[in-house]
Subunit: 257 residues, 2 copies
Amino acid sequence: MPTSTYDIDAAIPAPERARHIDLARELAQRIAAGDPPVGALLPTETELCHSTGLSRYAVRQALHKLTGLGLIERQAGVGTRVLASQPPTRYVQAMDGLSDLTRYAEGTSFTATVRERLTADARQAALLRSAPGAKWLHLSGLRTSAGALPEPIALVDIYVADEVSRLSKLPKVGQVFGVPVYQLIEAQYGLRVTRVDQEIQGVCIDGEAAAALRVEPGTPGLRIIRTYLQGERAIEVTTGLHPASRFSYTMSFRQSA
Amino acid sequence: MPTSTYDIDAAIPAPERARHIDLARELAQRIAAGDPPVGALLPTETELCHSTGLSRYAVRQALHKLTGLGLIERQAGVGTRVLASQPPTRYVQAMDGLSDLTRYAEGTSFTATVRERLTADARQAALLRSAPGAKWLHLSGLRTSAGALPEPIALVDIYVADEVSRLSKLPKVGQVFGVPVYQLIEAQYGLRVTRVDQEIQGVCIDGEAAAALRVEPGTPGLRIIRTYLQGERAIEVTTGLHPASRFSYTMSFRQSA
DNA sequence: GAGTGGTCTAGACCACGAA
DNA sequence: TCGTGGTCTAGACCACTCG
């Protein structure tokens, strides 16, 4: 039985680092080896206290660490259950805000050429994830670089759900605009976009679009469709048409700790 | 001065939930109000113990929660510093493994038509993020749906860095193949991909590519370039050419708790 | 040297789940 | 009813920072 009086431990120049970390590592290795297999219960806190000679506090710290790693699950009255033998390797693309989605838009501005209220037909309803007959505010325009010679960057369509479309600072036709519309909605209606779905398609730019973007008909491009949702409700949908020569979409996925 | 003998508190039917959570919430509100402004120090643990009547353990639990929220930063010998007045709203696209990147590949198979070792010229070096003259293993082939009539899905090129290219289970020319190459590298060299960079371009599919994919010349498509890195070293690069009619890239970003 | 947060002990009461 | 984990107290020693 390890007595572990505090003075004794203090006299020793410290064995390693924190003991709860050692214990966590040891338990993780045992779990990896399948000692308590997935789905089985780990020893109780009391048992671990006795077997390790540590206090309950230290044992709980170790188990807390394993919980954070997703290795175990704890429930009062039941015990500590093994969830996985290996900490799952996850990869994430993280953003510090939705503005990262449209970072390319920095140094550019949006000029509206169309502003109308529309009632969705069948085709539009599919894009807008709403029932046919639903009302939306529709803006259409051109995004241009803010430099001396304003090169068109993208043809943009913005749809705003009727319930959140009474926005005081919305761009007027012909007006240059800088703020993302979803930010106006969040500010004015006090809600938060909880999810953004994004689809990227390859397209050939023809006809009017080619003329507006000042590229040759048949030029390759990207169509990006973003749906901003609060919960399951789509509150804004944007589509952008980007000439491939002026835009490519890059992202980076990192292994999450 | 709250005496807070344990029996007294126990006799009361529990005020709310855990007291450390109440304290965390109160501190978060104060920080939001700028009481200790960003960059300043919070009261020390001892002061919080006195002002709240809680034990140091409970106070530390509350501060630990705020640390997890990214609101504060702690350092022994210095104190508790306010990092932000609001918990940053982050959005993440999470994957439970890199196979999610190529989920579309399920139910498809890769058939190699080219297998060679190459020495990167200037143009290839840029794609492969290595110096000109570096050696890579190059596979080229077609990804087809596994159904009865094998429709070509994508033209694929795979480049494997020389140091990790001695792979026993690598696809041979003409052979149907199912496992992602990065998994072979991870398994055989005992390393882990820590980052994947991805670029998506819009293209028009012409010439040989159109013939191989059995689409009309001038058909729109997507080119997807993935770079698999361990640390800062690129160990594999893949490019895929997908007809737009058979593939679009979708992703979803969620607000992270 | 005084004070900070990091670690740890040895107790205790509680809500909850299972027998 | 019994044992689980969740919460909490009141002490303690340590490494570290700073004046």
